[in-house]
Each structure stands twice: as structure tokens, then as C-alpha cells.
Subunit: 328 residues, 4 copies
């Protein structure tokens, strides 16, 4: 039912370094160069008391994630506080994660910058640092001029030069900009653009994207655990979910139930994840996510400023959400 | 899997006139007084050249709908142009539809007004005119003060006095107001409030409503054909869909596939309905819906002013949507 | 500097009953049929304990307003809870106010309904009930189709048949719809459309409307006390201000200072009105306005349901706003 | 009437290098360390064909601006495409502008970054590069958590360590975030935060900010030419206006008329600037601004990608706006 069953196993590693991998995606077969179906945690970046990246803690989190059947890891999605990292830090984190991550897992790295040129350069360097794919957020500061034409131009230039496949990333909650549907459909034709992480939560739009690109084997990932089941139901192939930083096993179980057609059981599990997910995303943001990670045995810690830690009351409210659903 | 299988058959007709039917819904069993699962067209109101209600055309439309396995008919949902009808016209249309509608079909009548008192009165009169249930839109003009408390108070008063079950109606596209989730959950406890038509399209919210009210057998209807499949997947029991005015048979088929667990086939059908649905709702509105009805053998005709008929170009664009998906 | 100085005195009373007054506005001179410059309270509607209109209290409020140099009174603007009144009540209130109002004061009556036909009829009946002008709010329920073309058509039909001048009314806070600038400019050419009450608060837009219609002597009224001074500065001729129900004398004083060019003093007064105004509009709505009226010696009382009275805490917060600025 | 008349002449140059200048703002007198009243063009950044900064063209633009009575120049406001510049480029441009700018003119440099630490560092370096003040945009990517508390913390840390005065910068059109009023009022108490550039266009809010901070001599600059007159009328002390890149002389003339109390003439000039201003900001963005600069004898040129140049039709439409108001 899902793309996964139609696609070859992950083709990671087939390409010689330096060669753009999209050349392996032949227009005739429309088979993607990289099967990205599955669940991904968009990992957070641990900091020490001086707000420096704490690589030891990062390693320990990765170690714990290694026993969960994730398809891979997203580094520097929005939850990675990438906008607070220097260019050097962004690359170093990717480099470090690739070293620690099991070979068969995909490392998807957020390489989006505001300018096209910077995004091109960052994508190349992230590929060099070991990313199997880059996740490219919509540039948004000049959103009044970020028309479909401008965004198609931007992504095409990035994809033309990226050594690894490009995954579009639309996250209106942060960018206040939805990558327009017509731009997505146009870009899906590019041989090096293989999918989209859609975090907007508009399930009708997701259905239309999947329908209009299905001849291209374009892969749609739900951008949040809140609509993972509906996403699978309408044809998405997986999810990049903040909640996977905490309840990764459960999200992989939800994936298994959906892919296996056990919808009734899937529904029961999905119900128990909606509010916890909302709590660590929309409601309490990354500070909430990092706080909850501590309770579940991971290293969370503080965010970089200006993101403030939760107040005591917020901590209580957050904890109550997880305990009321039986997760704590 | 769906509520339908857990519930008694429709209890319509069991109540003596004048007796509030909600008394038949016992708190202990939490079984609803009325099983509303299924597909409903929110019918349009045909007008003649002088903008008067054309009852003959209305009858003919109903006659055609009678062969489609709808669960019932919604009269004076948003697509019925109810805000353009006088109080007398609203009641007369309901009366007429009830006369023509087969007995086993549910007539759900939109009785919402801005004031609580007017809504109470309209609900009572619509029940007298033959409605099995009333669909009560959120009052919205003073939206800045339409807090959860105000809306809970409003709906409670309406439900307390309504002789027939009440169905909440949240349609932010028209009201610019979402009935808050906490208000929905509180109101679901009322014995005479049996469900909600949610037209906002936020599937995560729908999932949460269903989860938080499932011990009450509260029934959730998708308010648009665009997310009918995801709605069923997450636990909705049916849909009130503008598109059912045109492609009613297909929507009932989609219902059958979803309820029967044939998700792969359901998905194919759902895909073909998203854009046609968007065209007769968000994109071209009621003028688009009425125009398309003409092409499918129904009486559509013009709307009351200030709703303008489609321009020639809009007609072409609309037709193209239906033909490109093989419906025309 | 202001239109007032360029215009003839109010022409009210020059027209024989039944004759559309706009015929007196000659295209060649572009002089409006009615000089509406000045300050207006959009009066609230007092109700008794059974939510019935309390005409005796209404009379007493009017009696108190008669000593304030208002240009006139607005009946059934948004603050009049007109959406909660029956058609009969709307007309009866207008009739009553006209009887009590001094002859030289303008009665501007809100006659807007969702449908064009109902608005036409209501406008005619309000003129018969004694209104010198009608204030016509944008129809908004089907806002997706309320294009400039639809709104121009609507207002043109209304203005064509209205016996008294029409004033456009754009109040996006309630309607979630801004009457588009191009529609305003087009409609300003109609001989029977003499002005606009703009409550959106976009001072740039107000400036542009004034500029693009100044050859037509189209009159712009600020729709809130919060930007009354900037409105005068950019060329508005007055204001319809909820706050005038309470601090009418002060708003007329602010008018005097602005018209007289005493900007420094005007600014001091304007500053003291912004937060009290926000408190009885955006923040606490009509329940706040009615509560404050009680403190200032007017009859406020409760609103019709679903508008709830202020909570005790809200009352305290509201009172604090007025006392902190020295008004209580 | 305006702050300018109450304040000492610009105090620039009184401070020894390396000493935080805010120490010169004594709490007792509440006189700001820097009088920023006046008009500023937020200059664009010229690029050559390879998208590199073209310093020669930058010099020529500055040369032309030197004859206009601007109070100073803003470098790397939103119109400077600062989000597309590297850190090194940002500093180099500021350095270059300071070298070329007449000594008596203020150089206000945009130093905002997403993280507090990066903003602190950038502010320090911009001061070293010659900026008299830094303009700090609201961090916005995690806008759901950018509460008043977070933003007060952010700006306080930045202002504590900045060697030059800090000016707040709220530009919701780009950031989709309004710096909350209560945060502005709190931050105005900081001795090193001397003003705000408010580009939101909400004149009521501007009035309230001015009122609530007037005991602190906090200086408010209108962030757009569209509401420059209303801004002066309500107590703003100047403006940072994209349009000043083109019609600088006219904006300084408008300033002169407003400051001198010649409101009627001011109004006539303001009217002629609203649409041209909208055209080079909201409507056509920086590509429009740069295109128009070419017509007025400045170096505009292309933007960095993903900002596309205007289409031919857009160029025509833009030109028509300027010619219809007699500017071309």
C-alpha cells in the first residue's frame, strides 16, 4: 500500500563521493535515488552551561536512539535550533552525528539558509560532512516576494548543485509561509528533489500533493506526530516528528500499525500522542521538548537564548500532559 | 471500527411530539438518541429569476437525491444561503424538504442565529417543521467575546430547550471563528448535544475531539469532502459535504470503502475528489457549486445577491477541474 | 483645513419625504447632500432583565447625550447589538431615537443585512423611521466571494434605492473583511454614497481613501477613538467612537482641538483616551462598554446572550484602566 | 512640539572609544545619549553581476544622498538584504559607509541575529566598524516562544553589552511578529535603549508607546513613509523609510512641514507618497525599490537570489505609479 513496498531498499552508499547522486534517479523509471520512508527524530542540540554544543551528550542521545527502528535522523530541522548555530557548528554537528550513526540509517541535514547561494554552499558542505540528503526550509524573511516563481528558482538552483537528494521543507509555524502547492508539484519533477517534509498539518493539501506527484514517486513525510496516522492513511510514507525525540519507539510502532493496515489499533495509539505532541511543539516549543527529554532519559537541557527555559508552572503543566496519557 | 457498528439504528420517530428527545439519551449508557453516521449533502436553495425560493426545483433535486444512499440531508448549512433567507423562508424550506424526504432519512436543519434567544426559537420551530436534528453554527459577529465560556453558555441554553438533538457546527471559513476544543469537549457531555460538523479541516484537532469524547459516543462529521478519508481514518462517522450535491454517489462509495477498510481503493477515489471539492467550496463558493449542479443534472441557478454568478472565465476554469478528473 | 469648512451647513430637512435625497447632490458641484463631519456615539441598546429593549432607559441616555456637542447619533452600529435584534426591534429603536433626538442632530442608522434585498428594504424602512443616513456594514458570511465586484454591486443597488444617503461601513474586527480600497474609491462616485466609517485602524489606507476621493468630497469618519487625532491629521472629518458613549464631551473637545489646529494639546488628550478606548472595544467588547457606562451615569446593563457580562476580575481591570487615566 | 526641540543636539562623538555610551544617559535627566530625530533611508546593497557587493556603486549612492538633509543612514535594515549577507559582508558594508558618510550624520546599523549571543557580538562589531547606534530586529523563527519575557531578556542582554545605543526594530511584515507593547515599554527603561523603529503601521499602538514612554524621552521612528505624517502628528520624531532611497528630498520636506506645523501642505505631500511607498515596499518589495532607484539616478540593480527581479509587466505597473503622481 505504501511507497515503501514499491521501492528498492535504501540506495545509500551506491554513489561515489563527489558525484551528484541524483544522476542515479532515471527519469524513465521515476524511482527515487533514496527511499526515505519511515520515522525520523529531528534531534535537538544539547548545550552545556556556557551555551556551547555538548558533543558528549549528543553522542549519548544518539546511542539511545540507535536501538529504535528509526529510518534515520534529521539534524538541524527546526528543533535543532539551527538558526542559533554558526555555520561551523552546523557542519560540525552533522559531521559528528554521521560518525556515530549506524551506517544503514539516513542522515538528513537541514541546509536551508535565506539566500540561494548560501543554501547551495551549505548543502554541498553538509553532503561532504556525511549527510545522505538535505532538508531545505523555505527562505522566508522577504515572504511578500517569495512567490512560487522565486521559490521554484531557489530550489531548482539548490537541487541542481546538491551532491545529495533534496527534500523540501515547509513549516509555516516557523516561517509564516507555506510552500505553494503548485511550486511543490513543479519541483517534484526535478530528479534531485525526492520529497517534502510538510509540517503545516493541512491533510487536504497533503493528499493533493501526493496525488499530483505520484507518477514521480515523490515522497511525502508528515512533519508532526499529531497527524501521522491521517498522513499514512492519505499516502504519506513516514514522518519527521519532534515527539520521536522522546517517544520514538511508540512512533515506530504507530508506523508499523499503519503500514500493516491495523488501523483500529493505530488509532488508539495515535490518540494518545496528539496532546503530548502538541505540548512539545506548538504549546511549549523546544524548551518543552528538551524538558521532556530529561524525563525520558535523554539529554535535553537548556536552549540558546532568546529561548527561555520553561517556568515551574509550565513544567508542571507539561508533565501533567505526559502523565495523564500514561507516558510518565 | 466505526461508531455506526456500535450504535442502535436511527431512533427517529420514537418520540412523541413536543417531548424533548434528548430525554431518551440516558446518561448511563451514553448511547446517542440519534445515529447520524453517514453522508449528507448540505443542499443549496434554488431561486427563480426574481430571487424567490423555487420549491418546484427544490423538489426535483430532492427527487434525484432520493436514489443515493445518503444518511440524510442538511438544510441550511452554509451552502443553503441561510443568511440570505428570512426566518419564514428558513422554516418553509425545512417543512417542504421534510414532506418530500423519505422517512428513513435524517433531516438536519441549520438553526443557528447570532443571539441565543433567536437560536432557541428557531431550533424549536425547525423541530416542529420536521427536523430530526438541528445544526447550530457558532455565533460570530462579536468574535472577540465569543470565549469558550460564552459559547458553552450559548449552546447549553439551546440544547436544554431544543426538542431535537443538537449538532455543533464549526466553520471558520465563514465565521472566522473556531469553536474551541475545550468548549466542544465540555458540550459533548450535554445529553442533547450529539455531535459536531467540523469544517475547519484541522485533522489533528478532529482526532483530539474524537479521543476526548469517545466515552460519550459523541459523533464527529467531516465538514468537507476534501478530508473525508482522513476523517474516517481518525474516527469520524461521516461527512456533510458540499460536493455531495453533485457527486453524492461517489461520496457514498468513498464512505463504503472507508467503513469497509478498503483504504487503497478509498485513497484513489479520495484523490479525485479533492480539487473538485475545493473548486465548489473555497475557490468558487456557492456560485461555483450551483453552476456545477447544472452540469450534473440538478437545479443550481443563481444565488441571491451579493453573491455574483461566475464569470465566463471562472465557469471555464471550474469545468476544467471536473473534466480533468474525469467527472465531466 | 477640514472638509467642514468647505461644505455647506447640514442639508437635512431640505428634502420632501419619499424623494431620494441623493438627487440633491449634483455631480457638477460634488457637494455632499449631507455634511456628516463631527463626533457620533454608536449607542448601545439597553435591555431589561428579560432581555427586552428598555426604551425608558434608552430615552434617559439620549437625554444625557443631548447636552454634548455631538454631530449626531449612530443607532445600530456594531455596539448596538444589532445582530441580536429582530427586524422590528431595529426599526422601533430608530423610530424612538428620532423622536427624542434634537432636530439638528443627525441620526445615522445601521441598515446592513447579509443579502442585498434585505439591506435595500431595511434602508428604506429606516429612512421612513426617521434616519437621515444609513450606515451599511459589509456583508461578510461568504467572505471568500465578497470580491470588490460583488461589494460594488451590493452597495450600488442599496444606494440606488435608498431614500437617504448611504455611508459605507468597514469593520474587519467584526466582519473579518476589509472593504477593498478600490471598491471604496469606485463607490465614492455614486451620488448617494457620501462617506465611510472605517474602523480598521489602518491610517495609511485612510489617507489613500481620502486622497483618491477628495474631488468627490467623500467624507471619511474614523471608526474608533484610538486613532481620532491621526485621522483628523490625515484628513478625516470626524469619528464614530464607542468611547463617545462614555467620554463624549472629551471626544468633542478632542475634535475641537484637532479642527482648530491645537495639535499639542490634542495629543495630550488623545494619549489619555487610547487605553480606555481599547478597553471598551477590542479588549472587553460591548459588555465592557456597558459596564463602564454605568460608572459614568448612563444606563448600560447586560447584553443579550451569548455576550456574557464581565467577570468580577474583568470589572476590576476595566475600572483600573479608567481610573489610571484620571477618568474615574 | 516634537522631542527634537526638547533635546540637546546630537551627542555623537562625546564618548571615548570602548566606553559604553549609555553611561552618558543619566537616569535623572532622562535625556537620551543620542538624538535620532529625523529622516533616514534604509539603504539597499548594490550587487554586481556575480551577486557580489559593489562598493563603488554604494559609494556613488552615498555621494548623492549626502546633499539631502537626512539625519543619517540605516545600513542593513530589511531593505539592505542583510539576511543574504555573510557576517563579514555585513561588517564591511558598515565600515565602508562610515568612511564615506559625513561626520555629522548618524549611521544606524542593523545588528539583529536570531540568537542573543550572535546579536551581542554583531552589535559590538558594528560599533567598532563605526555605527553610532544599532537597530535590532526581533528574533522571530521560534515566534511561538518569543514571549514578552523572552524578548525583554534578549534585548536587555544586547543593550547591556552594546557600546552604542540600541534601537528596537519591529517589522511584522517580515518577521510575522510584533514586538509586544508591554515589552517595548519595559525595555524603554533601559538606559541604552533609546528608541524604536516601528514598521507595523498601527498608529494607535504608536500613540500608546509614545505616551507610555514619554517620561523617558524614548524616541519613536515611523518605519514607513506611508504613515509619516500621522506618525509626526501623534508624536514620532522621524522616520526610517524605504522610499527615502528614491524621494529623500521630498521626505525631508514632509518632515519640515510636519515639524513646522504646516499640516495642510504636509497632507498634500503625504498623499502623493502613499502609493509610491506601497509600491516599493509591500507590493513589489526590494526588487521594486531597486528598480525605481535606477529611474531616479541611483544604483539599484538586482537583488540576491531568491529575490527575483521584476517582470516586465511589474516594471510597467511600478513606473505607472510613480508617473501618475508626477514623480517621473
Amino acid at each position: 500500500m505504501l511507497l515503501r513496498t514499491l521501492l528498492p531498499a535504501c540506495m545509500r552508499g551506491f554513489c561515489s563521493p563527489g558525484t551528484p547522486r541524483f544522476m542515479h534517479k532515471l527519469a524513465s523509471t521515476k524511482k527515487p535515488a533514496l527511499d526515505i520512508s519511515g520515522i525520523y527524530p529531528p534531534i535537538t542540540t544539547p548545550f552545556n552551561d556556557r551555551e556551547q554544543v555538548d558533543y558528549a551528550k549528543l553522542d549519548e542521545n544518539l546511542q539511545k536512539y540507535s536501538s529504535i527502528p528509526f529510518r534515520g535522523i534529521v539534524v538541524q530541522g527546526s528543533n535543532g535550533e539551527y538558526t542559533y548555530l554558526s555555520k561551523e557548528e552546523r557542519l560540525e554537528v552533522v559531521h559528528r552525528v554521521r560518525q556515530k550513526l549506524p551506517k544503514e540509517k539516513i542522515l538528513m541535514a537541514g541546509s536551508g539558509c535565506e539566500s540561494t547561494q548560501a543554501t547551495i554552499e551549505m548543502s554541498r558542505q553538509m553532503a561532504e560532512a556525511g549527510a545522505e540528503a538535505v532538508l531545505v526550509v523555505t527562505p522566508c524573511y522577504y515572504r511578500g516576494r517569495m512567490t512560487s516563481a522565486a521559490l521554484v528558482h531557489h530550489y531548482t538552483q539548490v537541487a541542481d548543485s546538491s551532491p545529495v537528494p533534496v527534500i523540501l521543507y515547509s513549516v509555516p509555524g516557523n516561517t509564516a509561509l507555506d510552500l505553494p502547492l503548485d511550486a511543490v508539484v513543479t519541483l517534484a519533477e526535478h530528479p534531485n528533489i525526492i520529497g517534502i517534509k510538510d509540517s503545516g498539518g493541512d491533510i487536504t493539501r497533503m493528499g493533493l500533493i501526493i496525488h499530483k506527484t505520484q507518477h514521480l514517486a515523490f515522497q511525502v513525510l508528515s512533519g508532526s506526530a499529531g497527524f501521522l496516522l491521517p498522513g499514512y492513511a492519505i499516502g504519506a510514507v513516514g514522518g519527521v516528528c519532534a515527539l520521536a525525540n522522546i517517544l520514538g519507539t511508540q512512533l515506530c510502532e504507530l508506523e508499523r500499525l499503519c503500514v500493516g493496515g491495523q488501523w483500529q489499533e493505530a488509532r488508539k495509539l495515535q490518540y494518545r500522542l496528539i496532546e503530548p505532541n502538541a505540548a512539545v511543539t506548538r504549546r511549549f516549543g523546544i524548551p518543552g521538548l528538551k524538558q521532556a527529554m530529561e524525563w525520558f532519559g535523554y539529554h535535553g537541557g537548556n536552549c540558546r537564548s532568546p529561548l527561555l527555559p520553561l517556568t515551574e508552572q509550565e513544567q508542571k503543566d507539561l508533565r501533567k500532559v505526559f502523565s495523564s496519557y500514561g507516558w510518565l
